[in-house]
Every structure is written in C-alpha cells, then in structure tokens.
C-alpha cells in the first residue's frame, strides 16, 4: 500500500490561512489502513484545526467527509454537491488522491495534509516499512524476493557495497543491508548462482525517469 504521514500541524495551518470554511477530506484506501488519512484521522485533525483557529480568534467551519478512494473519479464526484459551501479542500489522501481531486475540481484549492512517504507494508500495527520503489521492471526473481532498488540505500544491482557490516547498512545501524538479506535467502534456497550473474546496466525508462507513467487495459477502453 501507499504510506503517508501527516504533515506538521503548523504547515497545515499555514496552508489554510485566510479560509473561513474548508472540507477535510479523508480517503478510505491505503491511508486508512496506515492510520493517517481515514475517517478517524479526519475527525482528529478537524478538531485540532477548529481549536487552534478558535484560540486565534479566527474560527473556521469544517465539513468532515471521507470517501472510498480519492484516486478514483467515481468517488470524487460524490463530493460535488458540498463544494459550493467551502473555500478549499484539505485532502488527507496520498499525493495521487490530492492530484485526482485537484484535477476534478479546477476552481477549488486543494491542499495536502499528508506527506506521501513510500510504497510498503506494515510489519506490525503502526509500524510501516518501504518495500517497493515502483521502478517498473521487477527484478525480484534474481534477488530472492528482496528488492535491491527499494531496500539498498544505493540501489546497487550487483551486490553489497563495502559498507555492509554485520547485516546492517552503512547509513544506519537500524537499517538492514538489503544485499545481506538477498544473499542469506539465495543461500537458503540454494540459488547462489543467481548472484554471480552480471546484472546489466539498468533501463530506467520504466521508472519515473521515463516521464510520468500510465497503464492502459485496452480491453476496457471503448
């Protein structure tokens, strides 16, 4: 899933300065699962904003709303009847959601309440880790299911750098060396021969370097 983290409160307050009525818009997708942008977080952020603005003597009205997904026009269109009432939308979705809402309602300011951090999963409740960098050309066959692009700090494709020490990365003793994990797994699967294969210079066109990407299911286009 896409992981997001709430922006610092002061930054959010600065964005909505000068507005008298806003919508705080939650998303029922990934950010609900990672506990940063769903129904409950909309309530919490809204009351924090109200209290702060009250204290400053500039009260603000908020419409709290959470939709199924902000990355899907079908659900975004559902908020249209409420929009004439508000000056701006504070979206608690990931960056993709914010973009979709902005593209849909050209006349309405849309602000991000989250920083979209990475694609990953939860190791345990409230503990999220990065596992994919969406490079567009999956190499996990060669690396025993552990991604060197997302998990090696230097995205090295042909093995660990000289800074790998006792299973940890040189940048932080809390960070696992991805290549140690890969080698351990290749060993346990008896696939060490895959390490000896030279991983050719990468074609980054499938990554963001090739420009914004799209995926089209032709059978769904009419």
């Amino acid at each position: 899933m896409v992981i997001g983290e709430r922006k610092p409160f002061d930054e959010i307050m600065k964005m909505i300065e000068g507005h008298n009525k806003i919508m705080v818009l939650g998303c029922g997708g990934c950010v609900t699962v990672c506990l940063t942008g769903g129904h409950d977080e909309v309530k919490v952020l809204s009351s924090q904003i109200r209290m702060a603005r009250e204290k400053d003597g500039k009260p603000l009205e908020i419409i709290e709303k959470t939709i199924e997904r902000q990355c899907d026009p079908e659900y975004i269109e559902g908020i249209q009847p409420l929009l004439p009432e508000v000056d701006a939308i504070l979206s608690m979705a990931c960056g993709a959601g914010v973009n979709f809402v902005a593209e849909t309602y050209l006349g309405k300011p849309v602000y991000p309440a989250l920083n979209t951090t990475f694609v990953g999963g939860s190791k345990k409740e409230g503990y999220y880790v990065e596992r994919c960098q969406t490079c567009g050309d999956c190499k996990l066959y060669y690396t025993a299911g552990i991604c060197p692009i997302a998990r090696c700090s230097k995205s090295l494709l042909n093995g660990p750098c000289g800074g790998s020490t006792k299973g940890k990365c040189e940048i932080d003793p809390e960070v696992d060396c991805a290549w140690q994990l890969i080698i351990d797994r290749l060993n346990s699967l008896d696939q060490m021969d895959r390490y000896e294969e030279f991983m050719a210079v990468n074609d980054w066109r499938t990554n963001r370097d090739g420009g914004p990407r799209k995926m089209i299911r032709e059978d769904f286009q009419r």
């Binding site: 090295l156 494709l157 660990p160 750098c161 800074g163 040189e170 940048i171 290549w179 080698i183």
Partner: protein, 311 residues
C-alpha cells in the same frame, strides 16, 4: 605506446613488468586553490607509481577529481582518477571519461561512492544510475569496443587502465570473492583493497581469490593506512563502516605512550606491508596516509620499495 598496453600508464607498466607496485592517495582541497594539491604532490612525488585522486570522498564537496588530476600531471606525477556513481548519471560519467582521457589521464578507479548521508550535503539527491561493476563494464566497453553504453560508436576511444576497490572485510564475507569475480568479468584491470589491519582475514580472502584463479586476471594491491594515534585507530574500528581493526592492534596502540603512537602506527604499517609482500597473488600496495602524505615515502622506503622503477 606499445599496442600490448591498455593505457600505457606507468602503473600498468610496473604491474605488467611483475614488479611490486605502489600507489598513494591525494585528497583534493575544499576550495579552489591549486597550491594545496601542488604541496601534497611535493610530499608524494617519486614515492609511488601513481596516486589516487579522490572524488568527493565521504560525500564532502571538494575540488573535482578531473581538475585535481590535471594539476597533479602538471607536477610530473601520474594520477588515478577516482569516479563515484553517486553524483553522475551515465551521460555525465561517459562525458567525464572522455574529458579525463583527453586531458591525459590514464588510470581510473570505479567506485559506488559513500552515501551522501555522511557528507556536508545530506539533503542532496543521489544518482546511482550505474553501480561500480556496471561502471567498470562501461569504461571497458568505451575503451575496447569503442562504443558508448547506448551503442553509438566513439571516435577516439579513451585509453584507461581500469581499477576498482574491494573490501575483503565487509559482510557477507562469503560473497566478497564472487563479487570480485564479477568485477573481473566486467573488465577490471586492477583492484585496490580496503585498509588491511586483519591480516589473517585478508590472507583467507586472498587464498579464495587464488583458488579461483582471479589473481591471474587482475592485479591486486593491498590497502595500507597507518594509524596516527590510538584515537584514530579506535575511530576506524568503531566508526568507519566495513573496517576491521583487530583487538590486539588496538591494544598495541593504546599501550604505546602518546608521543610514540605515530611512530608505532608506521611500524604496524611497515610490518603489514612485509606480510603482504609474502602473500600469493598480491601485486602491490596502496598506501592511504590520510592527511599524512609525508609518511607514504617513509613506509615505502622501509618496505624496500624505493626508488620506484623508471618505466
């Protein structure tokens, strides 16, 4: 230049002649004053066959490796231009290879590069378009096939003797020789190792290198760094990733009176050098006397490696 040489650099000629090679290292300054390089050069001249010019080492901004290499050549010395993958994509890398070769640089060292987290610009975006092994492949392709990575032909291919680093002490240990094999397959000509303090572990690594016959396809120069003090030894043991400093060496430095520690550090380096010379497959030594350039000559002298051959 003879056809049998890849670049005809002095380093290549010494290694090919079978003599024990010596390389040193020179870190460029954090400013635009060429005199800093010239001063270091005066301390290093004739003490080794060639000298690495580091490329923004530890991710701290310094005078460029290419420019510093040229200043060194003006002093009549031979540089090994280091290049890291951290700061350039393949377009800039190939462009700098052409530029370096055009300016007369004949040796190049291909490195991944320290992560920028350690440097003075931790906010920067890193590149790592290529890794160090792919960089070796790139230089070899340019030199031997006269082709860019993209496949287009090069008019006037760069003649470079290709080097890389290897750290026999990093983990996982069991892949450190297979990793060297990948570098050899990619086309590396010489290897400079990480600083050697744990000689038995280095011997074990070299044994595996020799068992695979890799020493016949690549020249291996063992890395040496003298301790200036017990403090430095402790720092290297605890704070430098991938460094293996055995307890007995630390104790030896600690038990030495402060005013004699520098001398003891040199003694340890000279003893290590003597042991390296005995190890099968070791073709030379790479002396990294960090901000202590005047000691390179002393270590080489005491190791019986001076004067350097005039090839």
């Amino acid at each position: 230049m003879s056809e049998e040489y890849k670049s005809g650099s002095k380093l290549e000629r010494v290694l090919k002649s079978g003599q024990f090679a010596v390389t040193g290292e020179c870190g460029p300054p954090r400013g635009a004053d060429p005199e800093v390089i010239r001063k270091k050069c005066s301390l290093l001249k004739d003490k080794a066959d060639a000298f690495n010019i580091t490329d923004n080492q530890t991710s701290v901004v310094r005078m460029s490796s290419i420019a510093s290499s040229v200043i060194m050549m003006q002093e009549g010395m031979e540089p090994v231009m280091q290049m890291v993958c951290r700061d350039r994509n393949r377009i800039a890398i190939q462009s700098d290879i052409l530029g370096g070769a055009a300016l007369g640089i004949k040796n190049m060292l291909c490195l991944s590069g320290d992560h920028q987290k350690f440097g003075d610009h931790p906010q920067s975006k890193n590149v790592f378009d290529l890794d160090s092994i792919q960089l070796i492949y790139t230089v070899k392709k340019m030199r031997d096939e006269h082709k860019f990575l993209g496949g287009e032909e090069i008019k006037g291919a760069p003649k470079l003797f290709i080097g890389a680093a290897e750290n026999p002490f990093a983990d996982p240990f069991e892949i450190r020789v297979p990793r060297l094999a990948k570098k050899v397959a990619a086309g590396v000509d010489f290897i400079q190792t990480q600083c050697i303090f744990n000689v038995p572990k280095f011997e074990e690594w070299m044994k595996r290198v020799v068992d695979r016959g890799l020493h016949e396809n690549v020249y291996i120069l063992g890395g040496l760094t003298p301790f200036k003090s017990f403090g430095m030894a402790k720092y290297m043991a605890n704070n430098v990733p991938g460094m293996d400093v055995p307890e007995d060496l630390l104790k030896r430095m600690k038990d030495t009176p402060k005013e004699k520690q520098a001398e003891e550090g040199i003694n340890i380096a000279v003893e290590t050098l003597e042991r390296l010379k005995q190890i099968k497959g070791v073709a030379g030594v790479h002396i990294m006397a960090i901000e202590w350039e005047e000691k390179v000559g002393e270590i080489a002298q005491r190791g019986g490696l001076l004067p350097r051959p005039n090839l």
